[in-house]
């Protein structure tokens, strides 16, 4: 309550000096006053007293409401930090050209859907299933693209995810993507559970300098890392050792996996070879990320002028009703006047002698 009062502001505070005028109805009444010989003649009546008070309050309300409305009241916008169940999820999506292909490695035709379309469909369901999850969406191909910063506006996140099946292009530069995906977390309390969801269908070599920077970022933020590897049928798995030399260049997926394992953070990799596998992986992530999360709620500035006018309207309606309900003794006199006359001219006096 006190807090709500503190956030109450007006555009023209000078006008509030007029507020004492609202006390005028206590002194003067708008009703037509009926002079009577003795006010005690009327019996005491609770309902009348209550109506009298309501009319008086209506007067005060209409004055106060109008003055408030003229001064332009509003409630300041604010950011409220609350705690809910959920996680900060930074979704990092591969937008390289290969994502346009199906899981079979072909261009989609007919009822087939591309990897991008499948992940779009499944991620969209993931977003918004819990009210207090926060998402950031980053896409990357050769360069990373910030799509949506960390937000709890699920509509925006869904819209961002809906856009990821646009045809991708170029190659996979996973190091810069990861850096941007991590930078999305921003400052938050240490209790926040964070998850970095990497959706990609391939990997690339991370050069050692970038590796150090990433390692530092991972150590600082300690997110849960999920790698949703959309594996094209026939391509090497994460765990497959290449036949030849075991270098990052030869088996980038395997070495990325090794790199992730070496980070000493909770890490899981899901290898999905079809849409169902992707769904299963996402359901698993959803189950894992259940921690209390402080989330911020933005409350916009709210204009209270309408409310003030509404209040004064209520007061004015009371006053108008009271005015319409007014009775007038003088009108009554005019109505009963002709009937009173014959009564007064009574029969002749019977005795006049003194």
């Amino acid at each position: 309550m006190n807090d709500a009062l503190a956030r109450f502001c007006v555009d023209h505070p000078g006008l509030l000096w007029l507020l004492p005028l609202a006390l005028l109805p206590l002194l003067v009444s708008a009703q037509r006053s009926t002079p009577v010989a003795a006010i005690a003649a009327g019996p005491a009546d609770g309902l009348s007293r209550a109506i009298g008070r309501v009319v008086r309050a209506g007067g005060i309300l209409s004055f106060a409401g109008l003055i408030l409305a003229l001064s332009g009241p509003y409630r300041q916008g604010e950011t409220i930090i609350r705690t809910g169940i959920g996680a900060q999820v930074s979704i990092l999506i591969d937008r390289s050209g290969s994502m346009n292909e199906t899981f079979a490695g072909r261009q989609p035709s007919g009822a087939e859907e591309s990897k991008a379309a499948a992940s779009r469909r499944l991620l969209a369901a993931f977003v918004g299933s819990r009210a207090h999850d926060q998402f950031a969406v980053t896409a990357f191909s050769t360069a990373p693209m910030l799509v949506v910063p960390m937000t709890d506006r699920h509509d925006a996140v869904r819209a961002a995810i809906a856009a990821i099946d646009r045809p991708g292009l170029d190659y996979t530069n996973i190091a810069r993507g990861l850096a941007m995906g991590l930078s999305q977390f921003g400052p938050a309390s240490p209790a926040t559970s964070r998850a970095l969801l990497l959706v990609s269908d391939g990997a690339a070599v991370i050069d050692p300098r970038a590796q150090d920077a990433l390692r530092a970022a991972f150590t600082r933020l300690r997110p849960n890392l999920y790698w949703l590897f959309l594996r094209t049928k026939g391509s090497p798995s994460i765990s497959d050792r290449p036949a030849g030399e075991d270098t990052p260049q030869a088996a980038p997926e395997r070495h990325l996996d090794l790199f992730f394992r070496s980070l000493r953070i909770p890490y899981r990799a899901f290898e999905a070879e079809g849409a169902e596998a992707v769904a299963e992986a996402i359901a698993q992530i959803e189950r894992l990320e259940r921690d209390p999360i402080p989330y911020t709620e933005q409350r916009p500035r709210r204009d209270l002028t309408g409310l003030a006018y509404g209040l004064s309207l209520i007061g004015l309606l009371i006053l108008v009703a009271a005015k319409l309900g007014e009775a007038d003794l003088r009108r009554v006199r005019a109505a009963s006047g002709p009937t009173a006359k014959p009564r007064a001219s009574a029969p002749e006096p019977t005795r006049l002698a003194a």
Binding site: P35, A37, P43, L329, S336, R343
Partner: protein, 284 residues
């Protein structure tokens, strides 16, 4: 003087009045002229001019009888006029106008038959500007009219009525107490008992707008003329019934007190009718 077309108010004081000056009312003393009253033995009233020969001859004990005649005397008529602010009430009729009319008519009627008329206006005290000593002068009625027109009703209490009673010394008088009697019951009793020596005629100024004429429905903001504040009243049939019952009860209380001290009150409401006043005065 009042309008010639308006009939006089006819009044008859209660009982027989003392006094030696010749007037229009029955006196307590036996006098030489007037209507026959009784016969008394000569020794009780040794007036040889009025020996009743017939009664004297008829008496087997040979007593001598004298006729006695009723003396006609004067009575002073006073009007005690309530000058509190509540008299400014104007409903079906203008209350102060109605009361003034009655007062002027009383003055005219009294002076026409030779009685003296006096006026005392009171609020918290006796208002000297509204005080007229009893006089038989012919122009009294217009004096009264002038005085009442010049005196504003501003008082808030009617305690002056008790003081006014102290000015009415001497033989019993005919006193018209003109007010709306919106007083505390204790004051009514005090005023009535202090005036009970006189022939007291309470005149209650009523108004239909205060009881029967109240609206069935509606919002009234009552403003007390005597400054007792304002009050919103939501009129509805139930409240109207209660209100009228209260007014009736008040009138009944006043009637009870007034009857104990003399005559029942006369209710003056709506229109001033001298004949109605006469009927009331002769009937009671």
């Amino acid at each position: 003087m009042t309008d010639a077309a308006q009939p006089d108010i006819v009044y008859r004081p209660r009982g027989r009045l003392p006094g030696t000056r010749l007037g229009a009312h029955r006196g307590r003393d036996a006098g030489g002229l007037g209507t026959f009253r009784d016969q008394v033995p000569f020794l009780r009233m040794p007036d040889a001019r009025r020996i009743d020969v017939r009664a004297t001859l008829r008496d087997p004990f040979e007593g001598t009888f004298v006729r006695r005649f009723e003396a006609r005397t004067l009575v002073e008529v006073w009007a005690l006029f309530d000058l509190t602010a509540s008299m400014r009430f104007s409903g079906e009729a203008d209350r102060i106008g109605l009361a003034s009319e009655l007062c002027v008519a009383l003055a005219a009627s009294a002076t026409r038959i030779g009685d003296a008329f006096g006026l005392i206006g009171c609020d918290e005290t006796v208002r000297e500007e509204a005080f007229l000593p009893a006089s038989r002068a012919r122009g009294r009625a217009s004096d009264v009219a002038r005085r009442l027109a010049a005196t504003p009703c501003t008082g808030r209490r009617a305690d002056g009525m008790v003081q006014a009673a102290r000015r009415l010394v001497g033989p019993p008088k005919m006193v018209f107490l003109i007010s709306d009697f919106r007083w505390p019951e204790a004051l009514i009793t005090r005023v009535f008992s202090s005036l009970s020596r006189h022939d007291l005629v309470p005149v209650v100024l009523g108004d239909a707008a205060e009881a029967e004429g109240l609206p069935e429905w509606g919002l009234l903001e009552l403003d007390d003329l005597e400054g007792a504040g304002r009050r919103v009243v939501f009129m509805r049939p139930a409240l109207r019934r209660r209100w009228i019952a209260r007014e009736t009860e008040r009138a009944e209380t006043l009637r009870r007190i007034a009857t104990a001290h003399g005559r029942p009150p006369f209710r003056l409401a709506g229109r001033f009718d001298p004949d109605a006043v006469s009927r009331h005065l002769l009937g009671s």
